[in-house]
């Protein structure tokens, strides 16, 4: 049996590495995707183009404007004199945020009334709009707070020392500088592995079938189990190679910390690869042409990535969809990836993820083997 398996393995490796293009595809695209994705994927916002109209011309309004000018989140492009121009520059797309301070702003503050601050946000990109308006509110809050402090100092200077204030000290754990890349890179490692291994495996078997070499192999004394093992083992090894390649390139190039244990990540990767091989094989048993395999693979890949928590938070999805996310093996692998990279947690935290992936892996591979037997009969 080992002899036959060995022959099969040799054949597979020759087939994969014979073609220059295929050889390139195993290394080039994953690395390119890693780099492009790493640079492109960010939810951070900086220097959002902003225009300001100050109709109050008071010391207070100027001070408020200066808070915006000095903030790294906003790039105040222009101070306009007319609120119509403000609308125009948003309409033209020159500015994403327009801030308008009405006449009487300082007066309202002085009287202790609530002073309005008019903000127009171009919400075509809802995420930028959401975060940017958060920062606007933050600046307004800070301004109001320090204004109030000044008033207290004025009316009751003897009390300022004693007045209670509650201060917030925020400690962003795992990613103290709140870098988007630290969040995305581990996710990209998982997603790229998923795409590569599934398409590779699905194609390999279907191709033999399409060209007709599958029948030829089946008339040899090889057993189905040996065939499946011989088909999957190379892709398992290639997958392992690629996952390591992507992980090393990603973490070194983008300088992502690795705080956990390599062996735990390796275990997670192995279990995840088993799941992906299972999916790939399953797709191949359901397809008779490569085009069909590709379309079916795509059909699985898109939801598997979208619902994994890779870039879109799971807790904002509708409840029924949240249950569905448990079906994506990537979901578990991402927890392992981020857990080992950023959090540095061990098996005590990650065992449910490992167990889930192991379970999926066994079920998927068993299903694929069963269906494969049937397909051959």
């Amino acid at each position: 049996m080992m002899g036959r398996l060995k022959q099969m393995l040799i054949k597979e490796f020759i087939q994969v590495f014979r073609d220059k293009r295929t050889r390139f595809i195993l290394i080039g695209p994953p690395v390119i995707q890693m780099l492009v994705f790493g640079y492109a994927a960010t939810y951070e916002i900086q220097h959002v183009p902003t225009v300001v109209v100050d109709l109050d011309h008071s010391q207070q309004s100027r001070e408020l404007v200066s808070h915006f000018t000095s903030s790294p989140y906003f790039a105040v492009r222009e101070q306009l004199t007319d609120s119509r121009e403000l609308g125009d520059s948003i309409e033209r797309g020159d500015a994403t945020i327009g801030i308008e301070i009405h006449a009487g702003f300082a007066h309202s503050l002085l009287k202790g009334e609530t002073a309005p601050l008019q903000v127009i946000v171009d919400a075509t990109n809802s995420n930028t709009a959401l975060i940017a308006s958060g920062y606007v509110s933050q600046i307004a809050l800070d301004f109001a707070q320090s204004y109030q402090q000044n008033r207290i100092n004025r009316i009751a200077p003897q009390l300022t020392e004693m007045i209670p204030t509650v201060q917030l000290e925020t400690r962003p754990w795992y990613n103290p500088e709140l870098r988007s890349r630290w969040f995305f890179i581990p996710g990209i490692i998982g997603s790229l592995t998923l795409v590569l291994v599934i398409t590779l495996t699905a194609f390999a078997v279907v191709r033999e079938r399409e060209i007709g070499t599958l029948e030829q192999i089946m008339v040899t004394p090889i057993r189905p189990a040996e065939f499946i093992l011989g088909k999957t083992l190379p892709f398992f090894l290639i997958g392992l190679f690629d996952v390591s390649l992507i992980a090393v390139v990603g973490s070194l190039w983008f300088q992502i910390p690795f705080r956990g244990h390599v062996s735990i990540l390796a275990l997670g990767a192995v279990l995840f690869l088993l799941c992906m091989l299972g999916v790939g094989l399953l797709i191949s048993t359901m397809s008779s042409t490569q085009q069909q395999a590709m379309v079916t693979a795509f059909f699985f890949i898109m939801p598997a990535i979208t619902f994994s928590g890779f870039g879109f938070p799971i807790n904002t999805m509708p409840q029924w969809l949240q249950y569905l996310t448990y079906l994506s093996p990537l979901r578990y692998f991402l927890v392992v990836l981020r857990g080992t990279y950023l959090k540095g947690v061990g098996m005590d935290v990650l065992w449910p993820q490992m167990a889930a992936m192991a379970g999926f892996g066994v079920v998927l591979l068993a299903l694929a083997t069963l269906r494969f037997h049937k397909a051959l009969d």
């Binding site: 073609d19 295929t22 171009d122 930028t128 809050l141 201060q167």
Partner: protein, 379 residues
């Protein structure tokens, strides 16, 4: 030999028969736009509410209870557990069962009554920086309003009347009034769908002809190269346009994405983009020759850029400058920009020239490139 519509028609018919022979692929291709729109419409929502938080209340006093009430009143937080054990909060952050932990020190109420400042700690799981950013902003809002309340009541207690100073930020969100992620995401899905149909499928079908040797058979017939190319691509063009309409209808009637521009402009720009991706797909298949290579290259040069570098999800202005330049050679960038303008802004067609001209240029250039490569391959 002159171009014959009839011969082209025959090739197209053959292609249609081939498509129809594989009903599952056809079903998936027709269902694809619906699925992608539903996927992104439901799956992508970056506006987080009800984020799970733990509270480590080491004081458990009336005051700390008051502070917690402020958090409870906010829709952004959901207090999962109140404990006095800090290790419990750390464990929750490690395992991901809490996104934030608030630590109220044991001398919280004591310090408040004595006067002076007291610190409350917020431990935030920043492994997801976007969520962390939102959380920090919301927490600061809650804390400042609480602090201001404490101060006012304290002053009143000491015989000083002071109204709280507040600035009310009245935000008007244009183009996407309720900040719906779906309205921002879904228009761009059209570009994804077309990339899949246009480049992915065509590169596969044509690479298959090469792989199986049927392309040589075709060439040996009196059909010219241009006729083969147009005939092969025409059915996919129709399929892509049908999908565009399906996508637009689901967006409009299911997700209620606003549509403020003209439908004709949408069709026109979609047709342009379709030509771009079809030409690309054809070009790739000529180069790749085997289906696996073709599909991977198509993924790399059409789908991924449409996903990553088009402004579909990640805004181009926030990318590093060299990458911003690079996006200029990504056709999907212009198409996504047109889509967002047509759907959300209602920009008139005349003002879309800065996007449509590059698109038209790409359509022309890629068609020429693909035709040439095909001719060269044949001779």
């Amino acid at each position: 030999m002159s171009f014959s519509w009839k011969r082209m028609y025959v090739i197209a018919k053959k292609e249609v028969v081939q498509i129809l022979r594989d009903p599952r692929s056809l079903a998936i291709v027709i269902a694809m736009p619906a699925i992608l729109v539903l996927l992104f419409g439901y799956g992508v929502n970056l506006d987080q509410k009800g984020l799970p938080m733990y509270v480590c209340d080491q004081d458990s006093s009336q005051q700390s209870q008051d502070l917690l009430k402020h958090f409870q009143a906010s829709p952004y937080f959901k207090i999962v557990r109140v404990t006095s054990n800090i290790a419990c909060v750390q464990g929750a952050l490690d395992s991901g069962s809490a996104k934030m932990g608030i630590v109220i020190p044991w001398d919280f109420s004591k310090r408040l009554s004595e006067g002076g400042s007291v610190q409350v700690q917020a431990l935030v799981d920043a492994s997801d920086d976007n969520t962390a950013n939102l959380l920090i902003g919301y927490t600061q809002g809650v804390m400042q309003s609480y602090s201001s309340e404490v101060q006012i009541s304290w002053l009143r207690h000491h015989g000083q009347a002071l109204q709280s100073t507040a600035i009310n930020v009245e935000t008007r969100t244009w183009y996407n009034e309720d900040l719906a992620s779906s309205s921002f995401i879904i228009p761009g899905v059209l570009a994804l769908v077309m990339s899949v149909i246009g480049a992915f499928l065509t590169s596969l079908t044509i690479a298959r002809e090469w792989e199986r040797g049927t392309m040589e058979q075709l060439i040996s017939t009196p059909v010219s190269a241009t006729e083969i190319m147009l005939g092969k691509l025409a059915p996919y063009f129709v399929l892509g346009m049908v999908d565009t309409v399906v996508c637009a209808l689901i967006a409009l009637y299911w997700f209620r994405v606003p549509f403020r521009g003209s439908f004709l402009t949408l069709l026109f720009s979609s047709a342009l983009f379709m030509i771009v991706v079809l030409a690309l797909g054809f070009f790739i298949s000529v180069l790749a020759k085997n289906q696996f290579a073709a599909s991977q290259i198509a993924l790399l040069v059409t789908f991924l850029p449409a996903f990553l570098l088009s402004g579909f999800l990640f805004s181009i202005e926030q990318m590093p400058v060299p990458l911003q330049w690079f996006t200029r050679i990504i056709p999907a960038r212009y198409y996504v920009s047109v889509l967002k303008k047509i759907f959300l802004k209602g920009t008139p067609a005349a003002m879309l020239s800065s996007d449509l001209i590059p698109l038209a240029f790409f359509a022309l250039a890629l068609t020429i490139l693909a035709t040439r490569a095909f001719h060269k391959k044949l001779t």
